[in-house]
Symmetry: C2
Subunit: 204 residues, 2 copies
């Protein structure tokens, strides 16, 4: 079933993947032909047939550009989560709403609801270290109302920080998960920008 691929067949697969990434669509047999300099489109055809026989691709007969990698099918829905710069988990600091790229991952892996407004921030500082959120981690936040005990990105007195949302005696305030840092009592307003739903860390 999962026979070995020849070098040529690997090249074909590579071209399929590249074409799909660059143009967004699969190449037609004639486009494959021209890319490899074949004199006939049938050469590409037979390669695709061979790849299908080996289970690397699937094809929908009679349809144009209908080549699919089986692995791409049973993949969940993928969301692009924009990264809006960094956020201080230590001292309060103003955060810029500028987009600095994005990360793509399947939302089923995170349990993120489909139509939620989600965004990501890089963490600076160690004030949430006791919640096991480290300097350099990427936190993924969802825009919604916080429940008590949630970890939130909050705009407190004009600056954004990552802290735990605590309610005591009916009054909400922010608590760092690090004994070296004090609680933050909002002077006038407490604007929650997002609630932590996931965390991504990569080893250096």
């Amino acid at each position: 079933m999962k026979a070995e691929l020849t070098n040529r067949q690997k090249e074909i697969v590579e071209h399929l993947r590249m074409s799909q990434r660059m143009t967004g669509v699969m190449p037609s047999t004639r486009e494959i032909q021209h890319y490899f300099g074949f004199a006939s489109q049938t050469a590409a055809m037979s390669h695709l047939r061979a790849l299908e026989r080996k289970g690397v691709i699937q094809r929908l007969p009679g349809k144009a550009r209908a080549v699919v990698f089986p692995g791409d099918l049973d993949r969940g829905e993928i969301a692009d989560i924009p990264i809006y710069g960094s956020i201080a988990a230590g001292m309060a600091q103003d955060s810029e709403p500028e987009r600095e790229g994005s990360i793509a991952l399947d939302i089923s892996a995170l349990g993120i609801p489909r139509n939620s407004r989600t965004f990501a921030l890089k963490v600076r500082g160690d004030s949430m270290i006791d919640a096991h959120i480290c300097n350099g981690d990427t936190v993924i936040l969802e825009f919604r109302e916080p429940r008590k005990g949630d970890i939130v990105a909050a705009l407190i007195d004009g600056e954004t920080t990552l802290k735990r949302y605590v309610v005591e005696k009916g009054k909400p305030f922010l608590r760092a998960e690090n004994p070296d840092f004090p609680d933050l009592i909002p002077a006038r307003e407490l604007v929650i920008q997002g609630v932590l739903v996931a965390l991504l860390r990569h080893a250096a």
Copy 2:
């Protein structure tokens, strides 16, 4: 540029997305026609034109099924990382090599080299808590030789655990990042199954 979509146009976009996820290919204008029960294929055509005018999709003129969502293009390469069950970060326990689904995310977000053999494990237990790896986290591991200080999934004396790889006096052994757990000195062999490259946590 980014004008509002009408209800009908949202339905069209939704069908494009669904079709791409289910079948792997974009629908042709006639397939859109039949799905919505149009009497003419031109109806689908004009909708696609409208969506392109509003910037929601891009089209490659003259090519079949050549509808692309612009956001999918500048997305990095996405890898499917298989999940091989769970791993004890507490007590040693045997791990089954059975695949339990997979997670998809773009490898550029993790800095994972392209052709590396990568897999994921769910963490059970708290023995790595001082390295800020919690019970329930998903660790992403790369199969390669460990360097000292790496966090590794190791098969030690027939069982798999997640520990820090330490070398002292020329002898490698495994150390838990939790004072309640003892060091693990391999009785005879120390087989490293993977080195931690990333971590994924989702809030309950």
